[in-house]
Amino acid sequence: MPGLMGRLTLIIKAKFSKALDKAENPNETLDYSYEEQLRQLQNVKRGIADVTTAKKRLEIQYTGMQQQVDKLDGQARDALKANREDLAREALTRKAAVQAQLEGIMQQGQQLEAQQQKLTEGERTLSAKVEAFRTQKEVIKAQYSAAEAQVRIGEAATGIGEQMADVGLAVQRAKDKTEQLQARASAIDELTTSGALDDLTSSSDDIDRQLSQISQGGQVDDELAKMKAELGKGEAPPQQIEGEKT
């Protein structure tokens, strides 16, 4: 069994020589190669921009899920205050489910971040190589015989072509991965907001509604208490009255 490294190298080389075989005349090869390089460099740049956009979108989704976690946490507290332990438990169960997913997505997002930096570096290297090729092709055109130019330029073009394929593949992979993460985040988001996750964790219905009622109820109680406090001694506890009796 051949190694992975050998296999990948063979495939990339085969693909590239197929692309290069099309141009026969050395001068044509030179100019064609250069134009092709510029075009591919644009593709790489566009690919990196796509990865960046996709990652931003992922960050927004991530923030949304974080808010979901905070909300569930608040609801659990409110439920507990209202002596509804069953609802509190439900809210916490959901919170744990979202949180677990959230952590997975964050970890992979961090790996993507590192990959993205490498890609940007790769793009910079490619730009430098393409520029070096532009200079060399003029020298080669002026100094060498057609046959020799063909060999030299073929080599340089192959070198760049391989690098281009290499970086291009890395960009494609990063893009695919970001989109996968996004799709996963969207799916979880949809599940939690539509309440479909209930079915997995509990058979009770309308939990979300009950939870938010408790939150709202709690809010009303809080405000009532605050108002009473503002109005002064209106809220003297009944125990005191009983105490006076004895």
């Binding site: 693909k15 790769g122 080599e155």
Partner: protein, 92 residues
């Protein structure tokens, strides 16, 4: 992959071949963790032992190290056919 070119001396080449064999064995055994640690070892060996080529150097590479996060499925695909590598644009 995607990190530029490095110059490898003979000793490093031997080491890379060994590591590459280990990676292939991990794929055969269906061991994804082994695959990842093997790929990581390959990339690290080049980064640490290789000499980074200048950006102006236009030489073709003798070998291309696969991405470190290659999945087991992708690795199998790579060994079986060419499906995993996208086609390069071919001039008309």
């Amino acid at each position: 992959m995607g990190e530029g070119q490095f110059l490898a001396d003979d000793a490093l080449r031997v080491r890379l071949d060994e590591l590459d064999d280990e990676v292939a064995r991990a794929v055969e055994a269906g061991d994804e963790r082994g695959l990842w640690s093997g790929l990581q070892a390959l990339a690290d060996a080049v980064r640490e032992g290789g000499e980074k080529l200048s950006d102006e150097d236009l030489r073709p590479s003798d070998a291309i190290i696969p991405p470190e996060d290659l999945s087991l499925d992708e690795a199998r695909e790579l060994l079986a056919d060419e499906g995993f590598i996208p086609d390069l644009p071919i001039p008309s």
